[in-house]
Subunit: 341 residues, 2 copies
DNA sequence: TTGTATGCGTTATCAT
DNA sequence: ATGATAACGCATACAA
């Protein structure tokens, strides 16, 4: 039961004043402490197993070295890839990451913003799709504005929020590029597993895809657009329903990879061979899924780079002008969408 | 530029003392504040957009509501599944999670323990395999001991560390059960993609598997045991090497699912059909990989439950006796290992 | 029930 | 270059 050893203890042990001990240990701005004393202090600190109290430091300094990351579900590879980038970049900068997961519950983002503001986090990063929910968005915006007004910085990842800096994923253009590729491969009767209504990312991907195919003269009929959850199970059920409609489809675009994998499973379960009877494409290029068979055609996103970019963006400017950095996807064609006769 | 609004501001605005404001807002132990006043304080706080300073609270209270989670790589689905469980459970308890990723660098765990001790985290959870590295383990043990001595609690996830409470995964028995299942299905010439030398989890799984098959009279020859990285690429390379040796193998056990998926890819690339020419089994039952085709036989671990158990274990007892909770895996047979003959 | 006063551990200001 | 001391924002022991 040593009790907490404080800087005062270290100072006493080293025979110096509290102020000197502080300067010796953190090397304060005006680094002015005789090497001899500094060593004595450091030695004393080591001897006593001194551990600086980050909370006290935060209070005295008026700032922390914490950054907050809010995601929907850290088990989702999309978010965990982003989180990996964030933690790596934060580490590089000597920052610590607090992770909050909303579990897809609306309103939780706002709640976490408030918690993180209480921690006096230096920056808050929010990843992942919000719904088209004016009220919720307004509330979130207000919380974030309050946080920014109190000196914090904010960056969104994946989807812009009016008034805040964002690493924006160009979902629409990525899906459009995918559509052109698929059209080029000869597909003419596409279907879309479109995600849930109101989900902005899902909507952008769907629209980019559908619009482009329409422009190319091979429109996607409404009967080929199936709403479903933005998850593996959503993809599975969506595909089941689509196949149940017994419509004549040669290509299914699931608006993310996890859904696409679910869709592939459903196709298999229905006796349709993906890449032969039916083509499937996704979006994201989740690393963990690169070995599914047949290889999944998708739109690659540099998920691991997003985290670093977001931190940089957030910490860069106290500038009041929100910056939007666009990130484009790249179509990756694999065996799930072979050239069609 | 409102400047930070403090509890004093709220108190003044509400026309009460600082103490009353404090009690009204956090509902202190002896909840004794007239409803009328409480309302006035809350109203004032809302009006002023008061946000309590968690750092100041931490200092005044002498404890935080932070728990630290240390993993190797949050993008690895094994760890992200665990992290999901941890964040969910923490949330339930009103705790906040600080996430640290070692990026597989030795010594980083210890470094993060020290950082988390500085934050005065209530508990530290460490997930994932350490190497058989006496020096590193000793250093980590020492840091953790210091943390515990200063009032923190610790729980390990997945692998015991002498002296600390652990949610231990019974890798050996899980691998043994898998071996028995495979033997029962008729496999007689197994190989193992064994992970890197010195990796304790890998070693336990390999030994449990190899030992059991030996006991059953179908030993795994040394030439069928391939060391490789504990990753997807490790599995891929390991399988390539194994097939290159041109040995006569009917089943390949990769010591985790991610490796198994890499191995399946290598088999395909070599023109061998998994589930027909060659069987493959893994370990973990990673959710994201449940739809690979053919379905991967594996040992299911309740990864998402581990987090909650670990928090419970850590926060439960200030008890000085380290508790070890054993978690067993369950063999899940899928199409990658069809009955043989 | 409410108010007053002290302390939490550190940094930073101001002397020296 | 070093030392005293005042904040930092809050919780709580004690007094009223």
């Amino acid at each position: 039961m040593a009790g907490p050893v404080t800087l005062s203890d270290v100072a006493r042990e080293a025979g110096v004043s509290l102020a000197t001990a502080s300067r010796a240990i953190n090397g304060s701005a005006n680094r002015t402490v005789r090497p001899e004393l500094r060593e004595r202090v450091l030695a004393a600190a080591a001897r006593l197993h001194y551990s600086p109290d980050a909370n006290a430091q935060a209070m005295a300094r008026g700032r922390t070295s914490t950054i907050g990351l809010i995601v929907h579900d850290i088990a989702d590879p999309y978010f965990s890839s982003i989180a990996a980038g964030v933690t790596a970049a934060a580490d590089e900068l000597g920052l610590v990451v607090t992770l909050a997961t909303t579990q897809h519950q609306r309103g939780r983002e706002q709640q976490f913003v408030e918690i993180l503001q209480s921690q006096r986090a230096r920056a808050i990063l929010i990843a992942g799709g919000r719904y088209d929910d004016p009220e919720g968005t307004a509330a979130l915006t207000e919380s974030l504005a309050g946080y920014v007004a109190s000196g914090g910085s904010v960056a969104l990842i994946g989807q812009a929020l009016e008034g805040f800096s964002t690493i924006a994923i160009n979902n629409r253009s990525g899906a459009a590029a995918l559509a052109r590729s698929m059209h080029g491969l000869g597909y003419r009767r596409a279907a879309v597993l479109a995600g849930p209504e109101g989900h902005i990312t899902a909507r952008d991907r769907r629209e980019g895809f559908v619009q482009t195919l329409a422009d190319l003269g091979t429109p996607v009929p409404d009967a080929h657009i199936v709403d479903c959850a933005f998850t593996r199970d959503g993809g599975y059920e969506g595909m089941r329903e689509l196949l149940g409609r017994d419509t004549d489809v040669d290509l299914v675009f699931a608006v993310n990879d996890v859904m696409a994998v679910g869709a592939m499973a459903a196709a298999r379960d229905a006796g349709r061979e993906v890449g032969v009877d039916l083509a499937v494409a996704g979006f994201d290029d989740i690393v963990t899924l690169r070995d599914v068979s047949p290889g999944l055609t998708t739109v690659r996103l540099p998920l691991d780079e997003l985290g670093a970019k977001a931190i940089e963006l957030a910490l860069a400017g106290p500038g009041p002008e929100a910056t939007v950095v666009d990130v484009d996807g790249e179509v990756v064609v694999r065996a799930s969408t072979p050239p069609r006769a």
